[in-house]
Symmetry: C2
Subunit: 454 residues, 2 copies
């Protein structure tokens, strides 16, 4: 069998390794358009924050290991520019090779996602950075090393945006943030958004929420970012450089154009076996659908665990060993400054859209027993369906440390379609340095049960 895999990060290399492990005699070609494979892209903001370490530390397994030990025909700087579904071949452009075609028995598309580029004037100027692959990370890192201070404007306040703001602040930059929405991560309760904004302010980040980016202009010495906030007049922010973090898009264009069926938000449509609308073509990772375990809907879920898992399961299915990949619950999170934030499942709004009759409870609790010196405030929310009493989702925001991992309990509850009564009965850890006797999940389950009964 001859397998061609497009993309050499989490999904692609997981798949390539899984195939060679089961079928050492098979030919496995991986086309990677960049210079890096199998790296922890999620770690880039943390490496930016740290002058003592380099992006190269993010590499999980080296290209050499894949080529020499795992016998994978890994081709760096080789980009697939077209695919011929009927002829079962891809058109490639390789460094030193020019344009060539490669046939396949089975194809895996694992091209990931790319930063969404803005179209306002100046969004592609020198000094405007996007953070997608390692080359982007190295470029931004070099810029930070060169300047060693100054003013930076970040456009966007997603999790990645928050992480980048922390990195910039840690390196002594003065940070502005422009966000078109009224608060960061608006699918979370307001209490979460306002606490995040308070944290940004306390770290001297100038926040412009509900602001429209107008343009970016070059002057002699720096850039000027213009924005309009609500109805007020234009604000101009002098910036030594700009980082745009406006979400990501599945890198699926040429495959959809070639005729593969599309999923939501521009993904390549796949089923639970990672199969596309073409029987010999599979797609896995950020470029392809994930199925949400709570709503049952296909979603765009560009996260690393899913990509690794999907790559592995795509490989099983490409080898003819039918295995369904687990649904995602939408678990995500980040640390920024001294706070940790995580959520899973559905927000109230997405629960309504999925046809549930949701109730939500927000509570405040403590990261340690109330009498412990290190105790900090935890914001918690829980969403449940008032008909079935099943838990639908929730999230947590509090001090870095004992907070974020509590979302895993909820992810397990979602997996098992737990009811509020069941969550209330969980025998969760109590010890003073880890929280109060009754966990946030217990408390909010009990309150929601009362709400539903009324």
């Amino acid at each position: 069998m001859k397998y061609v895999i497009i993309g050499g990060d989490a999904a692609g290399m997981s798949a390539a390794s899984a195939i060679k492990k089961k079928q050492p005699e098979s030919k496995v070609i991986v086309m990677e358009k960049g210079t890096d494979v199998s790296y922890g892209a999620c770690g880039m903001p943390y490496k930016l924050a740290d002058t003592q370490s380099s992006m190269d530390e993010l590499v999980v397994v080296s290209a050499n290991t894949f080529i020499n030990k795992r016998k994978i025909d890994l081709r760096l700087n080789n980009e697939v520019i077209d695919v011929d579904l009927k002829g079962k071949k891809v058109v490639c452009k390789g460094k030193g090779r020019g344009k060539y075609t490669e046939s396949f028995d089975k194809l895996l598309i694992a091209t990931g996602a790319s930063p969404r580029r803005l179209t306002v004037n100046g969004a592609e100027l020198d000094g405007v950075y996007y953070l997608g692959n390692m080359e982007d990370g190295r470029a931004l890192s070099a810029q930070m090393d060169k300047l060693k201070g100054g003013i930076v404007t970040v456009v966007g306040s997603s999790l990645l945006g928050l992480e980048i703001m922390e990195a910039l602040a840690a390196r002594g930059f003065k940070v502005n943030v422009i966000e078109r929405l009224q608060s960061p991560l608006p699918f979370l309760p307001e209490s979460f958004g306002s606490r995040i904004m308070d944290k940004l302010s306390s770290k001297n980040v100038n926040t412009y929420f509900g602001a429209q980016l107008q343009e970016i202009r070059k002057t002699d010495n720096n850039l000027v970012v213009s924005l309009k906030q609500n109805q007020s007049k234009q604000v101009n922010l002098k910036s030594d450089f700009v980082v745009i973090v406006a979400g990501v898009e599945p890198a699926s264009k040429i495959f959809l154009e070639a005729g593969l069926e599309a999923g939501p938000a521009g993904t390549i449509a796949v089923d639970e076996y990672l199969g596309t609308s073409n029987v010999d073509i599979f797609a896995a990772g950020d470029c392809a659908d994930a199925i949400h375990g709570v709503s049952g809907k296909k979603v765009f879920h560009p996260l690393a665990l899913r990509a690794n898992r999907a790559g592995k399961f795509a490989a099983y299915n490409m080898m003819g060993n039918k295995k369904k990949v687990a649904p995602i619950m939408g678990t995500a999170g980040a640390k920024f400054f001294d706070l940790a934030l995580a959520w899973t499942g559905l927000s109230r709004k997405s629960a309504e859209e999925a046809g549930f009759d949701p109730v939500i409870q927000e509570i405040e609790t403590s990261s340690q027993a109330h009498y412990m010196r290190g105790a900090g405030k935890i914001n918690y929310f829980l969403v449940a369906d008032s008909k079935s009493k099943k838990v639908l989702g929730g999230g947590i925001l509090g001090p870095y440390g004992t907070t974020a991992r509590q979302v895993d309990t909820l992810a397990a509850a979602l997996y098992h379609q737990a009811t509020l009564e069941q969550c209330y009965e969980y025998d969760l850890l109590y010890s003073p340095p880890f929280g109060p006797v009754w966990n946030a999940l217990h408390i909010s389950s009990a309150i929601l049960l009362k709400k539903i009964k009324i």
Copy 2:
């Protein structure tokens, strides 16, 4: 209705409050032999560590609130010394009241547990401390304040022992520990025990494991603790004071003598409704049985969440509203020095005893992604049944912070009787500051599945 409750801590006060909430007209008498009610006993070691705070901060709800706001007839310094099952009354000894009897319609025994006293010579000398109730805590705290340094010998290396060692070390005492077993917490894998011992050594705690305490003698200036370790000759440890932490025993003696049925380890036998062998008498908390959700066996499980929960559910059942209390999963943990330790479910040994055919996997993983500067080693173990592939228990040991709360995921898995396949499919949080892409539960589930298949 007239309710009498014996014991004014977690279980007793939870029950008293729950009854007055539903039946404000009922008479609720709480007999508390000590001077404190409703306090976080588990917090005592942490308060000992901290010169800036007092034991009184551990009080959750004050006696005044119970008496004046919740209209509970709370009697401090009133001890129940006998119970007449047929006559439905208790014999009490009250400060300023002498001996008197009190009748009841329904009785709740919530007397908790007491430190196990040793019987070796000198175990009750002045300068030998046990840590059970707040009076014990205040006495030990006063001693630490008075001496401000010196040598202390701790007898026993349970979780409480470890917490006390940390407190003593934090306050500048030189600490010895004597433990009759070869390692602390020997139901945990060896890798856990040896890491705990390494931590103690690194904190200059002199460890005497596999050691028999011989006696404690008083000299002019201090105490001398004699021990024999394995086959070697006697060691004498000069000690300014001694803390004995030799486990706890249910405070059930007079009730068992009066004829109530006994459970394991001297508890009062109760069913899922917290009812004892006498229809009008209930028991909840550390003095009574808990039912283990994995083994189905009655166990002695002296921990705070269970006590709070059992008190509340005992109240429901005493009021005639039949409600089963949730089983425990055996979840427990502690922080000591910079480490966190937690476990839940069954160890391999207890799984064998419960009739399972267990397999165990120990792994090492990381508290953050491998490339993060703050990453520390995590030890993890998972026990599963090789026939049903169900998870039976597990535990975690690693840096304080992101570690211990991971045991909650396992507690939820146990509640839902999850299989290894299901645990492998959980969509757990990945973000570099919280761990690697694949969680310890994923990795160990995958390895155990392979082990079982072979």
